[in-house]
């Protein structure tokens, strides 16, 4: 029994033209049994910064709470929101603190930086950052996601097209993975608005 595959998860983020999209599946399982179909894997840190966490669900929730805590204190002290790059460095540092007893999660961070330039990155469970210019994936469906994104991705997509692309990539990948699925949760973020949509895919 692999611990990273205990709950099942799929998270993906993609870069568009002055926008980004981040999507996840909605299944929460205990190995082969599905116990929830509305599990929240993606969370907002501030209006231009989102984090999606795949992996062990309890660590997903705890890590999210710790990060929100740190960000709120930062906002109070510095009177500004954290830049995505800064937040990614913070997450990496927090994960490495637990180097020899890690949080069993892989985060996907997506945000709009200075001049509304989209920023995405992922990292492993001990904080090794991986920046990308196009897309990042994580979770039990990651291999399928890599394939689907590589095939479907185009640079400089507008928000509408980005939404379609990321949704198709997510749904087709989780269909090949028994541990993730039961619909999708997509956020498309532009400088002025956040669009949140629930996808209905194969409900198994």
């Amino acid at each position: 029994m692999q611990i990273f595959e205990y709950n099942g998860s799929a998270v993906v983020a993609m870069v568009g033209k002055n926008c980004f999209a981040i999507a996840s599946d909605r299944r929460l399982g205990v190995q082969l049994q599905t116990i929830a179909t509305d599990f929240q894997r993606i969370s907002k840190i501030h209006d231009h910064l989102f984090i999606g966490l795949s992996g062990l669900a309890t660590d997903v929730q705890t890590l999210y709470q710790r990060l929100v805590f740190r960000h709120k204190l930062y906002q109070l002290r510095e009177e500004r929101d954290m830049k995505p790059e800064t937040f990614a460095s913070l997450v990496s540092a927090i994960l490495y603190e637990k180097r020899f007893g890690p949080y069993l999660c892989q985060p996907v961070i997506a945000g709009l930086g200075d001049d509304n330039k989209p920023f995405i990155c992922t990292m492993d469970s001990i904080g090794a950052k991986e920046l990308a210019k196009d897309f990042v994936v994580s979770g039990t469906a990651s291999e399928s996601l890599y394939g689907a994104c590589e095939a479907m991705f185009k640079p400089d997509m507008e928000a509408e097209e980005l939404f379609e692309t990321i949704s198709q990539a997510l749904l087709s990948s989780v269909d090949r993975d028994c541990l993730s699925g039961w619909g999708g949760h997509v956020y498309v973020v532009t400088p002025n608005e956040i669009k949140e949509k629930i996808l209905k895919g194969r409900m198994d």
Binding site: R77, E85, T86, L90
Partner: protein
């Protein structure tokens, strides 16, 4: 003074509501060599007297103005050794911030952390307050900034300020001379003139120190040759 019974213990308030050790620390600052800072529209300049106890001292080895980060510098009035300790602690805090966030520390944050250290030494057992006031000059995303930090741990943002022996004359002079749209070079001239006001003896590049930071966000201590140029312009 009725407070004298309470002046032995740092952590005890006197009946008049003062912490007498902090008052004494401020006196130590007030008898230190004059230093001043001016915030211009496009940078900040800090300057200090560098009066050495004897002509035998190698003045090139004495550096009163120090970097805290590449874009933040500081100068003091008061006890030199206390200044060294604070500079060391502040540099470490700035590096810790950089290591955590991979972003240079904003000036306000560094000033706040330094002030917190100074305050801790007014509320702990077995220690005394620092006998220095600092002037911190920096340039970050919020533009040029100048802060003064006192032994009590309070800090203030200034457009122009002075500390040390000649503080009241210097401040009066600065009040008259300061303008909102001053540029960095004008500010350096004004700083030199202010130091000259209360200077005992002949002012030269060997007995003052000047540090500046402009829109390039690089804090630099001026070389004696550069100071000579500015002194010549001022004459």
């Amino acid at each position: 003074m009725g407070d004298s019974q309470y002046s032995f213990s740092l952590t005890t308030f006197s009946p008049s509501g003062k912490l007498v050790q902090i008052e004494h620390a401020l006196t130590a600052v007030g008898s230190g060599q004059t230093s001043l800072g001016i915030k211009a529209s496009n940078g900040v300049v800090i300057a200090t007297e560098k009066k050495l106890p004897s002509i035998l001292v190698d003045e090139a080895s004495v550096q009163k103005i120090q970097h805290l980060t590449p874009n933040i510098g500081t100068v003091y009035s008061g006890m030199g050794p206390d200044f060294r300790v604070l500079v060391r602690k502040s540099r470490k805090q700035a590096e810790q911030y950089l290591r955590l966030y991979k972003e240079p520390i904003p000036v306000t944050q560094l000033v706040r952390e330094t002030a917190t250290v100074m305050q801790e030494f007014t509320q702990s057992g077995g220690v005394r307050p620092f006998g220095v006031s600092l002037l911190v000059a920096g340039y970050d995303d919020k533009g040029p900034q100048l802060y003064q930090v006192d032994p009590s741990g309070s800090y203030f943002s200034w457009k122009a300020s002075a500390m040390g022996k000649n503080v009241s004359n210097a401040k009066t002079f600065l009040e008259k001379r300061y303008t909102e749209d001053m540029e960095l070079d004008d500010a350096i001239h004004t700083a030199i003139l202010t130091l000259k006001e209360g200077f005992e003896g002949e002012i030269s590049s060997k007995n003052i120190e000047i540090g500046k930071i402009g829109a390039d966000k690089v804090f630099r201590v001026l070389t004696p040759a550069e100071i000579d140029d500015y002194l010549a312009e001022v004459e």
